[in-house]
Amino acid sequence: MNVPAAWYLILAAVLFGVGSFGLLTRRSALIMFMCLELMLNAVNLTFVTFARTLGDIGGQATVFFVMVVAAAEVTVGLGIVVAVFRRRSSTSVDELSEMKG
């Protein structure tokens, strides 16, 4: 007997919340980025948990795709960070002074 799915779902929801909180409050692009990964992990956990409860392998297959997307995003995102850094030598979003909210 396993623990109820709800526990894992709550864990995932909290993880998602922590990730989005970090994304909204941290100013370092790299860390915001990591928070993005946290959020995607929460999604994966949710999918796997539902796959278990629904008895459907589709949820696990989906996780696969989410991971690929995460990898693709990281590739491009880090490229952008490097590109920004080459111009500015900083990755703090607030120092992007030429932008106004």
Binding site: L15, R27, G58, S90
Partner: protein, 190 residues
């Protein structure tokens, strides 16, 4: 009580993975040094992988470690070290007064709302809950084969589109990494 209802090992597994996940996640957002954040992220990733194993998604757990821990976070660390941003981040800069509090409240409300909504739903309302209401069959250990079958049948298009996604990501990354060489006319085409 709980231990009677659910086997103790599964609770232990859950507790451990939850601890890893949450401590890691909080670490990511509070630690000042990006490298420490990345380490913290690895911790979360392991926690999630553990949760995967506990829910009989072993293959995904392995992929999780290989892809996330083995490649993605390494890439993060690579960039951090490559750019040397680790000891310079000014984390204390706060652009809008109270943004942190605002974001905190907003995220808290959203998360709590989602949890509350899900709780009202008894967590699952998919076909099993409606049609049979019974316990879903475990996918068992040999799920690599099932997973592969699903990927090449139900999710065939998604799989193929993923290939496109990866190509464009690679092309994009290469373009981003290329440097523009500026040459003044006097210098000639050196």
């Amino acid at each position: 009580m709980i231990a009677i209802a659910y086997a103790l090992p599964s609770i232990l597994v859950f507790a451990t993975s939850a601890l890893l996940v949450l401590v890691g996640a909080v670490g990511v957002i509070v630690l000042k040094n990006p490298v420490h954040s990345a380490l913290s992220l690895i911790m979360t990733l392991f926690g999630v992988a553990m949760a995967f194993v506990a829910q009989s998604a072993d293959f995904l757990a392995a992929v999780q470690i290989i892809v996330y821990a083995g490649a993605i976070v390494v890439l993060f660390l690579f960039v951090i070290m490559f750019l040397g941003v680790d000891r310079r981040e000014a984390v204390r800069v706060e652009p809008l007064v109270g943004q942190r509090a605002f974001a905190g409240v907003g995220v808290f409300i959203t998360t709590a709302g989602i949890i509350a909504l899900m709780a009202r739903s008894h967590w699952v309302t998919g076909p099993p809950a409606v049609s049979s209401g019974g316990v879903a069959a475990s996918t068992g250990s040999g799920n690599v084969r099932e997973l592969g079958t699903a990927v090449f049948t139900t999710y065939l298009f998604a799989f193929e589109a993923t290939a496109g996604l990866l190509i464009i990501a690679v092309v994009g990354a290469v373009l981003l990494a290329r440097r523009e060489r500026s040459v003044t006319p006097e210098e000639g085409l050196a």
